[in-house]
């Protein structure tokens, strides 16, 4: 069955409508979800795993989970794109640490006021996030990088950087709060 590749424009259905159709096992709707978020999910997994094949495996699994169990994402408690990215990042970290998945999709709850369904807004946000992270103090960037993309625990980061545990904790908190404030501004 071939589906037309979707173009992102203002006529695209919102995530809520898409999910409603995915619940009804509408394959065309799932194709739209793939086109909208597949690249984003793949890019996060690739950044962590640095292996295109493994990154694709993660992307396929995450999106297939959504197909099988769309109700795991509860509307109103975050953006679908953000939720998929968190699942992909966590699964990729589980893989590099060779551990069983540490959380189920139902456990991932996040607050996000961003509209990732709109390609325009998504691109603006991406630029903004890159800019904010680039301008964080170097130590905060390093701690965030080690925790988020390399999956190190705070004690492993402290050991690697030679910093105190409390310092590592504070840096990660400040980095996240800094990102929150900058995006809200």
């Amino acid at each position: 069955m071939a589906f037309e590749r979707t173009n992102h424009n203002e006529q695209d259905p919102g995530d809520d409508l898409l999910l409603e159709r995915v619940r009804g096992k509408d394959q065309q709707a799932m194709a739209v979800v793939f086109d909208r978020y597949g690249g984003m999910v793949y890019s996060v997994a690739l950044r962590v795993l640095k292996d295109p094949e493994q990154a694709e495996d993660v992307m396929q699994e995450i999106l297939f989970q959504l197909w099988k169990k769309p109700d795991a994402f509860v509307q109103g408690r975050g953006s679908l794109g953000g939720w998929l990215m968190v699942l992909a990042r966590n699964r990729a970290i589980d893989l590099i640490r060779r551990r069983k998945p540490t959380d189920s999709p139902d456990d991932v709850v996040l607050v996000s006021k961003t509209n990732l369904a709109s390609e325009t807004e998504r691109n603006v946000l991406m630029e903004k996030v890159r800019d904010v992270v680039k301008n964080l103090p170097v130590e905060q960037q390093r701690s965030l990088e080690l925790a988020y993309f390399e999956g190190l625990s705070h004690s492993e980061i402290a050991e690697k950087t030679g910093d105190a545990l409390g310092t590592v904790k504070t840096r990660i908190r400040l980095a996240l709060i800094g990102l929150r404030k900058a995006l809200a501004a």
Partner: protein, 269 residues
Amino acid sequence: MTGNEHISQEDLALHAMQALSEGDAAAIRAHLATCAVCRAEFAELSGDAAMVGLGVPQHQVPAGSRTRFLDRIAADAAMAKESPKRETRGKVLPFQANAWIPWAVAAALAIVAVSLGIRLNSLHQELTAATSQVAHLTDETAQARQVLEVLTSHSAQHVLLTADKTSVEPTGRAIYLADSGSLIFQANHLKLLALDKTYELWVIPVEGNPIPAGLFRPDAVGDATVVMPPLPRGVPAKAFGVTVEKAEGSDTPTAPIILAGATAPASGE
């Protein structure tokens, strides 16, 4: 961190990034289950952490991955329609030595056949998609070939898993290619489990802890399969095992081991 005190923002931020030890994470999960204030703050920080991922360089998905995904959901939808019919099928013949080979080949061909059936129905509506269908078929053939490659590769490890000394009834066969992390497992004559239990397959690596390789439940006649579970690549196995776990699975195998089998050198070595 426990009791009536709220969890610090530092610890919640680390928990949002899974950067705490398992002990600390478990304590926080327990607290979050009862504290709405911390739960709300944790959700905020999880949202912040999600945004970090938005800053990574964006890449196109690999060529063919869209087709592979759409094939997969099409096959899943077809199987969902087919499953009620399977309930009424005749009695399954007793499992015989080497009977798994035609079974596995049939399973691979069934994947192709199901997808072909779907395409036949859609041709009436999608005359303009002829070109993409050729690519589609190629991907499906490649998928079947991948399964057959695992089944026939000289370097694949074939392992027979048997029950403990008191019973030889349940059996399992694992075929594993360590380089690609590909695993096909088939079990027969398994006992049915209560709804709150599941079987879990484990890869026992030469070094390190057992790696979970999938949860499964047998059908009405005790047969079950696990095909290509997500596994890390390049992990040599010294054995495989099956345990009974709680329905959501487990991080570590729970005794007793229902089925176990050690690897032998691949033929030709």
